[in-house]
C-alpha cells in the first residue's frame, strides 16, 4: 500500500512537472508583456530593457533551463505585477480557496449523503423522483448564472447577504452555494446509486437473513461499502472545485487562487501562472493521495493487497 502510494506520488509529481513545463511554453507563446507594463509612449529601448531584466530576450531554451534550475529550488521567479515572489503571491491566497473548497465540499458530501440515502430508501417513490430530478437540475445550472441571479435576488433585492467580498458568515452563503451546485448534483446521484447497490447486495441480504436491524444494515453494512464510489467521485469533484473558484472569484470578488490565476493570465504574469499551476497541481496530487488513503481505510481489499 505504502509502496503503491509512494509510486503514485512520484509519478504524479512527474506529471505535475510536465504540466508546469507545458504551461511555461504556452505562456511564452503569448509573447512578451512589455507593452502592458511600459508606458504608452515607451521607446523600443525601454521595451528591450524590460525584456532584458525579465529575461524575455534570451532564446527560449535558455529561459527554460534557467526556469528549470529555479524551479528545482522552488523559485518560480518574481511576479511582474505584484512585485513579490510568485510562490508567495500564490500561497498567500491559497488558504482562502482551500477553506472555501473544504467548506463547500464538506457540505456537499453531507447534503448529498442525506439526500442520496433518502432517495435510496424511498426508491422509486415521489421523494426519490424529486431528489433525483433536483440533483440533475443542480448539475445542469451554469454556476456563473446562478451566482449572478443569486446576487440580484439575495443581495440586491432582499439584502440578506452581502453582494460580494469576504466578511461575516453571511458572505459565505452565495459563494459556497455556487460551488456546491455541481458537486451536490453529481454526488447525490452517486450516493443514491451506491446505496441502492449496496442495499441490494448479497452481504446486506445475508445480514438481513440473520435478522440484523434495518438501521444497522444501512449505516454499518451498506454505507461503508457505498462510501467507496462516493470517495472517488468526491475526490474528482473536489479537484474540479478550482473551476468553480474561478467563477466565484470573479463574481463575488472572493479572494483566492481563482482570481489570482485569472488576473495573472490577464496580466501575463508568467511566474504567477506557473507557480499557481504548480500549487494547484500539488494540491490535487495531495488530494489524490488523501483519496487513496481514505479509500484504503474504507476498503480492506485495497489496504491489504
Amino acid at each position: 500500500m505504502l509502496i503503491f502510494l509512494s509510486r503514485r506520488l512520484v509519478s504524479s509529481v512527474i506529471a505535475l512537472v510536465g504540466v508546469v513545463v507545458v504551461v511555461f511554453f504556452l505562456g511564452r507563446l503569448t509573447g512578451s508583456p512589455a507593452h502592458l507594463y511600459l508606458p504608452q509612449g515607451a521607446s523600443q529601448e525601454m521595451a528591450d530593457n524590460f525584456n532584458r531584466t525579465h529575461g524575455f530576450n534570451d532564446p527560449l531554451w535558455q529561459q527554460f533551463i534557467r526556469f528549470v534550475g529555479d524551479v528545482a529550488h522552488l523559485d518560480f521567479g518574481t511576479s511582474i505585477w505584484q512585485q513579490r515572489p510568485a510562490l508567495t503571491a500564490v500561497t498567500s491566497v491559497f488558504p482562502q480557496t482551500l477553506l472555501l473548497a473544504v467548506v463547500a465540499m464538506t457540505l456537499s458530501i453531507a447534503v448529498a449523503a442525506v439526500l442520496g440515502c433518502l432517495a435510496a430508501a424511498r426508491r422509486f417513490g415521489p421523494v426519490d423522483k424529486l431528489i433525483t430530478f433536483g440533483s440533475l437540475a443542480c448539475a445542469s445550472i451554469p454556476d456563473f448564472w446562478f451566482a449572478l441571479v443569486g446576487v440580484l435576488f439575495l443581495a440586491v433585492h432582499l439584502g440578506v447577504v452581502p453582494t460580494s467580498g469576504q466578511s461575516d458568515l453571511s458572505s459565505w452563503i452565495l459563494p459556497v452555494a455556487t460551488l456546491m451546485l455541481a458537486p451536490v448534483g453529481v454526488l447525490t446521484q452517486v450516493v443514491r446509486g451506491a446505496m441502492i447497490e449496496a442495499l441490494g447486495s448479497g452481504y446486506v441480504q445475508s445480514a438481513r437473513a440473520r435478522g440484523l436491524a434495518h438501521r444497522r444494515l444501512v449505516y454499518r453494512h451498506a454505507l461503508r461499502n457505498a462510501a467507496l464510489p462516493i470517495i472517488s467521485v468526491a475526490g474528482d469533484r473536489a479537484a474540479g472545485l478550482v473551476n468553480g473558484a474561478v467563477i466565484v472569484g470573479t463574481v463575488f470578488a472572493w479572494p483566492g487562487i481563482g482570481t489570482v490565476m485569472v488576473d495573472a493570465v490577464l496580466n501575463r504574469d508568467f511566474a504567477v501562472i506557473q507557480a499557481g499551476v504548480f500549487v494547484i497541481g500539488l494540491g490535487i496530487v495531495l488530494l489524490n493521495v488523501l483519496v487513496d488513503l481514505t479509500y484504503a481505510v474504507a476498503d480492506p481489499r485495497v489496504r491489504v493487497s
Binding site: L36, Q40, G41, A42, Q82, S92, V156, T163, G165, Q166
Partner: protein
C-alpha cells in the same frame, strides 16, 4: 470581526472607514505608474502628492507641494517647495527628495508608466532645501503641468525597483494590499494639511460591474466607481464626471482599402453616431466630431465633422472601388474587453453601419496585453488591415498629451505620416498660451479634414454611485485621483 469594515457604510457606524469599490487591483503600486489608474485613482492625493496640481474647475495649474514656480529661461525652471512637509516614514520632504523623485521617474530602467506623459525627460537639482531647479531638453511651456506626473515618494524608496509599498506625503498611509481583495490606507497624523474625515480608506476590488454597483446600493461600499449606465440610479446618488475622455477609431492608413482617403472618409459618413451614442451610451456619451474633449486646448470650437450620410459613404466607396481600391477586403476592428462598459455593443452597432455601406468588418476583442501590442504596431506590414477602438483621456487638458501620440509621424501609436501635421505639432509643442491652443487646433482641423485616420465617435462621461448619506463631487480628475478628504461620510 473582519466584517466590521464592510458593514461600516451600511450601519453608519463610528468606524469612519471610507470604502470604495473599484474594478480591479491597480496593476502597479508604484506612484510613478499612477497614470495607469485606468479610470480610478487610488494612491494619488491620498498617499502621494506631486509638486503641482490642476484645479478641476478652471484647469489651471495650482500649487501643492510646490508653493510657486518660475521659468528662468526656455529650458530652466525653479520651484519653491512647501516647507515642513514630512514623508510618512518621517523623512523630510525637501528639494533633494524632489530631485530624487524626478530622477527616479525619468530613469528608463524603471519603466515608469507616467513617462508616457513626459516625452522628453528632464533633470532636476536641489538648489537649497526648498528650491528645486528643473532643466528640460527643449522648451516645454507646460512643464508645471507635466511635473504634476511626478508623484513624490520617500527617498528611501529603491531607485532601481518599483515599490509595492509606497510611502508619500499624502494624508493617508498605505497599509497593505491583498491582491484580488482589497487595499487599505490609514490616516497619516503627521500630514501637513488639514485632517481628513475618514480614519481609514479601504478599496475593494469588484470586477463584475453589476456587483460593484450593488455594493454601493446595499451600503457595503460608500462609493462604487465607475459604474455602468444600466446600474445608475435615477436619484442624485449617481454622479457623472468627465475625464476629458473621447472614444474614437484609429484607422490604418498603409493598407488597402484604408490607405484610400475616400474610404476613410466614408467611414466617417457611415457611422450614425447620434443614434448609436444616444441609444447605447445614454448619459455616459455625447456624439463628438473631435478626438479631444472641449476642455482640452486642442478642441476646435464650432467644428462640425461629416454628418451621418450612408448614401455619400456608399458613393465614396464606389469611387474608391472604381479607382481600383479593394474595398471588399476584410477589416478587423480591434478593441479590448475593458474599453468601457458596453463598448462591445457600441462597436457591434458601428459594424452594422459599416456593413450597411458595403464594408466587411470583423470585431476582435483582445485582452489588454494583446490590445496594447496591437495599438503599438502602427505600421506592421504583415498584419491584416485594421482599425482600433480607442478610448483616450486627457485629464490635464493639454493637447500635447493627445495629439503627438496619435497624429505625428513619430507618435508611438500614430498611423499618420503627414509632414504638414508634423510641423504644426512641433510648433505647438514649444508654444505657450493662446498661440499653443491655436496651433493645436489647426493641427486638429487638418487631421480631421485632410487625413481621416481618426474617426471620433463620442465624448465620454463616467458614472459613480454613492451610498446613502455619502457625498462627493466628482470632477475631471476623479479618474486619476479621488482624494478621500473630499468625501463626506454621513453622520
Amino acid at each position: 470581526s473582519p466584517g466590521g469594515d464592510a458593514q461600516a457604510g451600511r450601519t453608519g457606524g463610528s468606524a469612519q472607514t471610507l470604502t470604495i469599490a473599484i474594478p480591479t487591483d491597480p496593476t502597479s503600486l508604484d506612484p510613478c505608474d499612477s497614470q495607469a489608474a485606468d479610470g480610478v485613482g487610488t494612491l494619488r492625493r491620498n498617499v502621494t502628492e506631486s509638486l503641482t496640481d490642476v484645479d478641476p474647475g478652471t484647469g489651471k495649474v495650482v500649487p501643492l507641494l510646490a508653493l510657486s514656480w518660475r521659468q528662468e529661461n526656455p529650458t530652466t525652471w525653479t520651484f519653491k517647495l512647501r516647507p515642513g512637509v514630512k514623508f510618512q516614514d518621517g523623512t523630510a520632504f525637501d528639494a533633494k527628495a524632489a530631485a530624487f523623485n524626478i530622477k527616479r521617474t525619468m530613469q528608463p530602467d524603471l519603466g515608469c508608466l507616467n513617462l508616457g506623459n513626459i516625452p522628453d525627460p528632464f533633470t532636476a537639482t536641489a538648489v537649497d532645501t526648498t528650491t528645486l531647479r528643473v532643466v528640460t531638453k527643449g522648451p516645454d511651456p507646460i512643464l508645471p503641468l507635466r511635473i504634476g506626473w511626478v508623484d513624490m515618494v520617500s527617498p528611501k524608496t529603491s531607485m532601481t525597483a518599483k515599490t509595492s509599498h509606497p510611502v508619500g506625503t499624502g494624508p493617508y498611509t498605505f497599509v497593505r494590499r491583498t491582491p484580488g481583495t482589497d487595499m487599505r490606507f490609514k490616516r497619516f497624523d503627521g500630514y501637513w494639511g488639514s485632517k481628513p474625515q475618514a480614519r481609514e480608506v479601504r478599496y475593494v476590488f469588484r470586477s463584475e460591474a453589476s456587483v460593484r454597483a450593488a455594493t454601493a446600493k446595499t451600503g457595503e461600499a460608500d462609493i462604487a466607481v465607475p459604474i455602468a449606465l444600466q446600474d445608475a440610479t435615477e436619484d442624485e446618488r449617481t454622479r457623472s464626471y468627465t475625464q476629458s475622455r473621447v472614444f474614437f477609431l484609429r484607422l490604418d492608413t498603409d493598407k488597402p482599402p484604408l490607405n484610400d482617403l475616400r474610404v476613410r472618409q466614408a467611414i466617417g459618413y457611415a457611422i450614425d453616431k447620434k443614434n448609436i451614442v444616444t441609444a447605447l451610451m445614454g448619459r455616459t456619451g455625447k456624439p463628438t466630431d473631435q478626438m479631444v474633449a472641449p476642455t482640452v486646448n486642442g478642441y476646435v470650437t464650432g467644428y462640425k465633422g461629416p454628418a451621418h450620410d450612408p448614401a455619400k459613404a456608399k458613393a465614396l466607396i464606389g469611387q474608391a472601388k472604381s479607382a481600383g481600391v479593394d474595398t471588399g477586403r476584410r477589416i478587423e476592428l480591434i478593441s479590448r474587453n475593458t474599453l468601457f462598459p458596453g463598448s462591445s455593443d457600441v462597436l457591434q452597432a458601428i459594424i452594422q453601419n459599416l456593413k450597411d455601406v458595403g464594408l466587411d468588418i470583423k470585431l476582435t476583442e483582445l485582452d489588454d496585453n494583446a490590445y496594447k501590442d496591437k495599438i503599438h504596431a502602427t505600421n506592421s506590414s504583415g498584419q491584416p488591415v485594421s482599425m482600433m477602438a480607442v478610448s483616450h483621456d486627457n485629464a490635464f487638458a493639454d493637447a500635447s498629451f493627445s495629439f503627438p501620440k496619435y497624429l505625428s509621424s513619430s507618435g508611438t501609436v500614430s498611423t499618420i505620416r503627414d509632414a504638414r501635421l508634423d510641423s504644426l505639432l512641433r510648433q505647438a509643442d514649444v508654444a505657450a498660451g493662446g498661440k499653443r491652443a491655436q496651433l493645436y487646433q489647426r493641427a486638429a482641423r487638418w487631421a480631421y479634414e485632410r487625413n481621416g485616420a481618426i474617426v471620433p465617435i463620442a465624448e465620454q462621461f463616467s458614472l459613480l454611485l454613492l451610498s446613502k448619506g455619502v457625498d462627493y463631487k466628482p470632477n475631471g480628475l476623479t479618474g486619476i485621483e479621488l482624494p478621500a478628504a473630499q468625501v463626506k461620510l454621513g453622520r
